[in-house]
């Protein structure tokens, strides 16, 4: 399911126009990412938590040139599904 399909599904469910749904989705996404960028985690009850994790800088070696370089520290976004949701999908059959 891609973004458009998601949008269409929500639109039909809420009886909203495509453009309205789009702005809503966009608002939701930006709200989540804003909070994340403020170093806050966003939890959606019954689904999971979006949180940020700080990755420390590390040393890598280019196997070709044997040059060592530092990969700078960065912040990664992680999604931690809630136990409720985990249990929900746990027993889904193998594809």
């Amino acid at each position: 399911m891609n973004n458009k399909e998601l949008q269409a599904a929500i639109a039909s469910n809420l009886a909203l126009s495509q453009s309205e749904t789009e702005t809503l989705i966009h608002a939701a996404v930006s709200a989540i990412s804003d909070k994340l960028s403020e170093q806050k985690s966003v939890s959606i009850h019954g689904f999971g938590t979006f949180e940020i994790r700080e990755k420390k800088e590390r040393v890598t070696v280019n196997p070709l040139t044997k040059k060592r370089s530092i990969v700078p520290s960065k912040i990664a976004v992680a999604f931690k599904p809630s136990t409720v949701y985990k249990d929900k999908i746990k027993d889904l059959p193998r594809l």
Partner: protein
């Protein structure tokens, strides 16, 4: 990290504010969004949301595990789990506001090692210095070392005393030889003094290993010889000179074979022997002699080799040596000496060829590098011996 959780309620507030819809509607929307994602995941196993990321359902294979407390083996059944990969856009956004550091190359740890190596080298140099000053304090040992210096030469030429005796009859020849000897060895002596540090190490080893042996040696073998030498050539006053003479004896033989009349040099010889050195006078003689020898063998070899004409220039690659080029361009590896000659300005010694050097391959007289001519090979070998010494 000051992570404070934001609940769905706050999210609703923000969305309502941004889009201007009622909170009720916003809440409803979020619930629908959530359920749609869930449904989408169950149906398609993948949901992409622009600006946020991708949710995916992944099957985890069943695997064995051990209960840590009881030590019992049990199987974790296969199950599906959700994975989330953040959108590149989101990553950027978050990292922009976060701590920003640029990728930078790390100083090679080898550099540190190199520094340490330098330090160690310095320490070694200090130790050498100390060793150097040691003998200065202990004068006698220094004198012994002086004696030892010529030792290697002596060992090489121990056979020579007998030769010398035979050649007393050909006094003129021997005298000139002495001449050359002194002339050659004296500059070396000076050099040695200057490069005392380098030389000292060698001397030190020789002293350590051979002082005892040498002393015996001197008494048994050298002693009588020196006496003989003195009687033969009155001019020889000290042992060093005597030793030099011996080493020259080899050359003498050659000279004798060539039957070069060197009588005019005799008078000079006497003078020189007493005065020890007359470099300006002697220099030309030595140069004279060399060519004569070669003439006796073959004229081609006597001619000065033209090193300006080159076939090509080679950039030394890994594993390549002069021998390789000689084989390639002249057909025989023994002719590397000519390449060495042509590159003597860059090469301090035949072994100092290094990767990346530009080596000129000189154009040579075909007679000089005639593989079928044993003389040519012989001459190359002779040169090789000279250079390798």
């Amino acid at each position: 990290m000051n992570t404070s959780k934001i609940s769905i309620q706050e999210l609703i507030d923000v969305i309502a504010q941004q889009t201007g819809i009622s909170k009720k509607k916003a809440e409803e929307f979020l619930k629908v969004l959530q359920s749609t994602i869930e449904d989408g995941l169950i149906n398609d196993r993948i949901v992409k949301i622009k600006g946020l990321g991708t949710f995916k359902l992944i099957w985890n294979e069943a695997r064995k595990s051990i209960n840590v407390q009881t030590g019992e083996e049990y199987i974790i059944p296969g199950h599906t789990k959700v994975s989330f990969v953040p959108d590149a856009q989101l990553k950027e956004l978050i990292n922009d506001k976060g701590v920003k550091t640029n990728e930078s190359t790390l100083p090679d740890p080898l550099e540190k090692l190199n520094e340490q190596a330098e330090e160690i080298k310095g320490i070694i140099a200090d130790i050498k210095e100390m060793k150097k000053t040691e003998p200065a304090l202990i004068q006698p040992s220094e004198s012994i070392e002086e004696m030892v210096k010529p030792e290697p030469e002596l060992t090489n030429t121990t056979v020579n005393p007998t030769q010398n005796e035979e050649q007393v009859s050909i006094q003129s020849a021997t005298l000139t030889e002495k001449h050359v000897l002194q002339e050659r060895d004296l500059p070396i002596k000076k050099k040695r003094k200057e490069k005392h540090v380098v030389f000292f190490l060698l001397v030190f080893l020789v002293v350590a290993g051979g002082v005892g042996g040498y002393l015996l040696y001197k008494d048994t073998v050298l002693g009588p010889y020196i006496v003989k030498a003195e009687s033969k050539a009155k001019a020889l006053k000290d042992k060093l000179v005597a030793i030099f003479e011996k080493s020259e004896a080899e050359n003498e033989v050659l000279v004798v074979e060539e039957s070069i009349s060197t009588t005019p040099l005799d008078e000079n010889m006497a003078d020189n022997a007493t005065e020890d050195e007359k470099p300006p006078v002697e220099a030309p003689k030595s140069t004279k002699k060399e060519p004569v020898k070669k003439v006796a063998q073959q004229s081609v070899f006597e001619m000065p080799r033209n090193q300006k004409e080159t076939i090509t220039t080679e950039v030394v690659k890994k594993g390549e040596r002069l021998v390789v080029y000689a084989e390639k361009y002249y057909g025989h590896k023994d002719f590397w000496v000519y390449i060495y000659e042509a590159n003597s300005n860059v090469l301090k010694s035949p072994g100092s060829v290094q990767v990346g050097m530009r080596i000129k391959i000189p154009k040579l007289n075909p007679k000089l590098i005639d593989i079928n001519n044993p003389e040519a090979l012989k001459y190359a070998k002779q040169l090789e011996r000279n250079y390798l010494q």
